[in-house]
Amino acid sequence: MPTKEDLAIAKQMPDAGGHFGQFGGRYVSETLMAALQQLEQTYEKLWRDPQFQAEFDRDLAHYVGRPSPLYHAERLSRELGGAQIYLKREDLNHTGAHKVNNTIGQALLAKFTGKPRVSAETGAGQHGVASATVAARLGLECTVYMGEEDIRRQALNVYRMKLLGAEVVSVKSGTRTLKDAMNEAMRDWVTNVDNTFYIIGTAAGPHPYPKLVRDFQSIIGREARQQCLTQTGKLPDVLIACVGGGSNAIGLFHPFIEDADVRMVGVEAGGYGIETGQHAAPLSAGSRPGVLHGNRTSLMSDEGGQVIGTHSVSAGLDYPGVGPEHAYLKEIGRAEYTAINDDEALHAFRHLTLTEGIMPALESSHAVAEAMKMAPTMDKDQIIVVNLSGRGDKDIHTVAEIDGINF
């Protein structure tokens, strides 16, 4: 168990070079170094600037619709017979997921740096939609990279992005999913570094991205902490969030890091099962440290250092790495990571829909499934806060396909 001092240190991470212990850092080709240094300086200055903060808060309130509710899922909790489950309703945000908290923040940075164009990678399409949305609002040109496989399974979001005026580029290299979209977005950035702001979609990538995405997403945890105290008079016992790159999870976790009694559980995509090798759960599978997309982290790569193809029913979790802060929180023993398989997530998707009338994104369904496992083992007066990171509209197509229904 980490000591109080360890947690105080953890809360202050990363160091000046963007390291979270042995993880993180800035592993990019030289062409991007200047842009990242500039971004870091801009960010450090603006994040402390009251005017920037005020604008960010105003956008979150009036454009995103924050604070998002903390909802007591009473029927679900009663049925499970254990801990009380509270849902942090990021699904109610404008554009339907937590992703927009981050794109609002990064779009403000883009505006202050005067870049006329933004680019983004996307898996489930939620980050792509959130990027296209802020670009439309600020009148910026927007290009979104998306794996061919994800374009197929998230067709609705692709069309949404196009309606929002973004160009969606289909990425046909490698595994044709999020990882490859990210490669292509980095290639775009190297080529257009002078006029483009790269809006990264998760708490990964080279420093300062993991830090700034975390800071923008931490509104989730700050609100949840206060709401839980107000509604129940105490802090939650457990926090649960799904982990793709880890932005919704770190957003929920970070404000609680020094609350040593609050357990933090990150849920990765178990795919067909960790034992099959067909998953996207580097932390749960104990993957060794590796370097991809600008940071050192737990990474699914083979004996020769080649990155392994992943599988998950949910496009947003289908990624072989994880944000470096999660690798660090696992290493110091502050957070735990586990995996939920495709079928368990699909079951949770249906179950939450039927018991609470809330249709979660398949990504978020992984967190719901873990809560459904954990709640019955806990006391009725204990509290689980689940980050309901997004809504499931985008996944209806996937679920229908599994049901053999074709629209």
Partner: protein, 267 residues
């Protein structure tokens, strides 16, 4: 003195510039690579950059991405590439070989194991695209201990103050990336490159190689007039791809391109 430094010194005394071809190891099949390296040397190559295939070549354009995919199809790993260097060294002890690639394969092998093996097979240098000097203290220390030169990239976006820092961390030569973009992208602007090289030379005495965007005899010659080394990759890899179905022709056909560049540079 390292084989790389010696090579640049010799060229300098002859008033010539280094021709540095890049090919991806194991492309399209492992057995092609060593004969191709020898053919490149015969055509006038001074240093060979051997690409280590990687699943996620983020700094590369489509040509080298596909080369990586072909090489990985036959399972060419870092350890196999090092074995190719050993095989090349059986009959060539003079031409420096530099591995160029991404960090993860080295990270997974372990820096120390890589350094030992690299020294044992007669490797001369390593260029890791996604390992800037800020993250490379341990790496540099181990490579230096094994007498392997660490070659760094400089970019059009690199600030002058940083040029000095990077050159201090590296050895052998520095690699100036002539364009903002991935490998095989837009053609370069020689005047712009010359201007940047002037700045770089104020900060280092190391030879400067220029790569990205050199695609024909004319651009090779133009760059040779301002740089110490001309690095050419995608055009060669493209030729390898064209002949993937007729592999016996690859060494000769690729070497014909470098031979012609050599002539243009020596004119």
């Amino acid at each position: 003195m390292s084989r790389i430094t010696e090579s640049f010194n010799n060229l300098k005394s002859q008033g010539r510039k280094a021709l540095i071809p890049y090919v991806t190891a194991g492309d399209p099949e492992p057995k092609v690579t060593v004969p191709l390296m020898h053919a490149l040397v015969e055509s006038g190559a001074d240093i060979i950059e051997l690409g280590v295939p990687f699943s996620d070549p983020m700094a590369d354009g489509p040509v080298i991405q596909l080369a990586c995919e072909r090489a990985l199809l036959h399972g060419t790993r870092l350890i196999d590439v090092l074995d190719m260097v050993a095989e090349f060294r059986q009959t060539n002890q003079t031409t420096p070989v530099v591995l160029m690639g991404y960090l993860n394969p080295i990270e997974v092998m372990g820096y120390a194991a890589f350094a030992d093996k690299a020294k044992a097979v007669g490797l001369d240098g390593v260029l890791t695209v996604d390992l800037p000097p800020e993250e490379a203290h341990e790496f540099n220390r181990l490579m230096k201990a094994s007498d392997i030169d660490v070659i760094y990239l400089l970019a059009p976006t690199t600030e002058p103050a940083r040029v000095e820092k990077i050159c201090a961390a590296g050895s052998g030569y520095v690699y100036y990336v002539s364009v903002k973009g991935v490998t095989g992208s837009a053609s370069l602007d020689v005047a712009e490159v010359a201007e940047k090289l002037n700045i770089i030379r104020q900060h280092t005495d190391m030879p400067v190689g220029v790569g990205f965007g050199i695609r024909d005899d004319a651009s090779a010659r133009a760059i040779s007039e301002v740089a110490d080394g001309v690095i050419v990759g995608s055009v060669l890899v493209n030729k390898v791809a064209e002949l993937a179905g007729n592999q016996a022709l690859i060494p000769e056909a690729v070497a014909a391109i470098t031979a012609s560049m050599r002539q243009a540079m020596d004119k």
